[in-house]
């Protein structure tokens, strides 16, 4: 199913780097009824780094994600992506996004290939007619995640791990410098987890910036450069993984249940 040669692809094109690639500064976000959903949240991601966003459901993690994506407007504070607003960075095609599996309608009549091509839409003309280069990049992205054989499958006919890889291929095809992944390890098999970690590391080495939100504490420790602990609707701690990932800190975020993961 997954061939050894998937890793033997050419390296990703090197990203340009000057200044931080993603900066969240003292952001406050409110729900429509006025209550604060996120308060005074700050983080700074450098080029060529992977950051893990850790926190319980309802901690403000997904609000921070949505704010970075530009879906929520902060009351105060700023989000800067590659030196501009996140909306501008999106229009330049620089921000790719891998959704949580729960957010996708798996019965939708689209194939894996359709999904990957959607990653190229920003590079096509208004009628979204793919050029030769778009097709090549889409094929290459499918190959990198080992999904070429499943190209024509309707997305609902895939296993959990294959579904995730199809959407990862779409994000790769987009060729942005910043990639956001919402729960990339939710419901995936070991092979897929390996593929995801390997690809994200390759992206990082090519100077890209990766932000993942996850519950998977083991994977965070093994490959995230920085960690942001989210609790009580704010960024509790942010910094290099080895400094932040202490039993004490994890206790503050998760309570007793998960603190052993850091030891």
């Amino acid at each position: 199913m997954l061939n050894a040669h998937t890793s033997a692809r050419a390296p990703f094109p090197q990203a340009h780097s000057s200044g931080p690639s993603l900066k969240v500064e003292r952001v406050n976000v409110a729900y429509s009824e006025g209550k604060l959903a996120l308060r005074d949240a700050s983080l700074t991601l450098e080029h060529g780094s992977i950051c893990g966003l850790i926190g319980l459901n309802g901690s403000g993690k997904s609000t921070l994600f949505k704010t970075i994506m530009g879906f929520l407007n902060p009351l105060s504070g700023t989000v800067t992506v590659l030196g501009r607003s996140s909306r501008e960075a999106q229009k330049a095609g620089q921000v790719s996004y891998v959704p949580q599996s729960e957010e996708v309608d798996w019965n939708f009549p689209v194939s894996v290939w359709d999904v990957v091509l959607m990653g190229r839409y920003g590079h096509m003309n208004r009628l979204r007619i793919p050029k030769k280069q778009d097709l090549e990049i889409a094929r290459d992205s499918l190959e990198r995640v080992g999904m070429t054989a499943f190209k024509d499958r309707q997305i609902g006919e895939l296993s959990g791990g294959q579904r995730k890889r199809a959407f990862l291929a779409r994000a790769l095809a987009q060729q942005g410098q910043v990639m956001l992944l919402d729960e990339p390890f939710g419901g995936v098999d070991a092979t897929t987890e390996e593929v995801i970690i390997r690809l994200l590391t390759e992206l990082k080495n090519a100077g890209h910036t990766v932000l993942i939100s996850t519950h998977d504490l083991d994977s965070v420790r093994s490959f995230c450069d920085t960690v942001a602990l989210i609790a009580g609707r704010t960024v509790l701690e942010y910094g290099p993984t080895e400094q932040v990932f202490t039993p004490d800190n994890l206790m503050r975020v998760f309570g007793g249940a998960a603190s052993h993961a850091a030891s």
């Binding site: 996004y97 996708v104 309608d105 009549p109 689209v110």
Partner: protein, 307 residues
């Protein structure tokens, strides 16, 4: 009755100009509605379609009163309902389906009051249930123009619209304006409803905007095929429904919609992959395989439940 007589009777409807016109309008309307229905059912906008179609009533009455083309009035009120729903939803705690319910019933009721008080010229039943057999040349022209424009627009931007239905987050993340796409899709929805008014009327328009797409959705996993199947089934129902209504001397819109419902039921039971029979066959097959497997492994029979 011999064969010659039978054929004479069978083609009799098409010796009348009004029947030819009605058949063509029904077919065109069917095609446009079918294309849009694919988006409506994937986006989950059936109620929205029902709402917009009911809301156009006051617009139609006003257009007749002041002598404007009915499409103008209907379209204006279709848009008004869409904008009011969006506005109220984003500025109150009331849920969307409730807002839709309030807005469209209010506008529809307003239309009813206007008809009963203001005008005797407008035939309520023609607006509510369509009157394709009595369609005027001017109305045919309006339908053709609006219909062709709508169809061209939707087909040209079908990929963006599909992406918007499938994954608005991704659409936004590649820089597309999803608010614009939201209103663009609602605008073509309103335009489509306007084209279908003459054929099936306000009450049944929603069937044209839902059923062909739903039937096609049961028959294929490819969106491009879904568009083709929906359009083919809808054109078929438009033509055959109009034809049957001539012999029944019954409501044309009703005949078309009943036929669409029948096609949907056929797909529901007999669709090769997503039909009920196929699914129960699949279930039986996997049960059988289960039993066979168990037969081969008698020692593990007790632990099968854990698999």
């Amino acid at each position: 009755m011999d064969i010659a007589q039978f054929f004479q009777q069978a083609i009799a409807p098409f010796t009348y100009g009004f029947m030819v016109k009605a058949t063509l309008v029904s077919a065109l309307t069917g095609a446009i509605c079918a294309v849009l229905s694919c988006y409506v059912i994937l986006k989950g906008w059936s109620l929205m379609g029902d709402a917009v179609s009911h809301s156009v009533l006051p617009g139609v009455v006003i257009a007749y009163l002041v002598g404007l083309p009915f499409t103008v009035g209907a379209f204006a009120f279709g848009l008004l309902s869409v904008v009011s729903i969006g506005y109220i939803k984003s500025r109150s705690r009331v849920k969307e389906d409730t807002v839709i319910g309030v807005v469209f019933t209010t506008l529809f009721a307003l239309g009813l009051v206007m008809i009963s008080k203001v005008s005797s010229e407008v035939h309520l039943s023609h607006i509510l249930f369509g009157d394709v057999l009595g369609i005027s040349d001017g109305d045919v022209l309006q339908t053709v123009i609006v219909g062709t424009l709508t169809l061209t627009g939707v087909l040209m931007f079908r990929k963006d619209l599909l992406l918007f239905c499938f994954d608005p987050t991704h659409a936004r993340s590649i820089g597309l304006n999803t608010t614009f796409l939201y209103y663009a899709l609602l605008t073509v929805l309103a335009l489509t409803i306007v084209t279908a008014l003459q054929t099936v009327g306000i009450i049944l328009v929603v069937a044209m905007l839902v059923t062909p797409g739903a039937t096609a959705y049961l028959l294929t996993d490819k969106f491009s095929k879904m568009l083709v199947i929906a359009a083919a089934s809808s054109v078929f129902c438009g033509v055959v429904g109009t034809y049957i209504s001539y012999f029944l001397d019954g409501a044309t819109g009703g005949c078309i919609v009943v036929l669409q419902g029948i096609l949907f039921m056929l797909a529901f039971f007999f669709a090769p992959k997503h039909g009920m029979l196929a699914k129960s066959r699949e279930r039986r097959k996997s049960q059988l395989e289960d039993v066979l497997e168990r037969g081969n492994l008698p020692s593990s029979a007790g632990g099968m439940g854990n698999d």
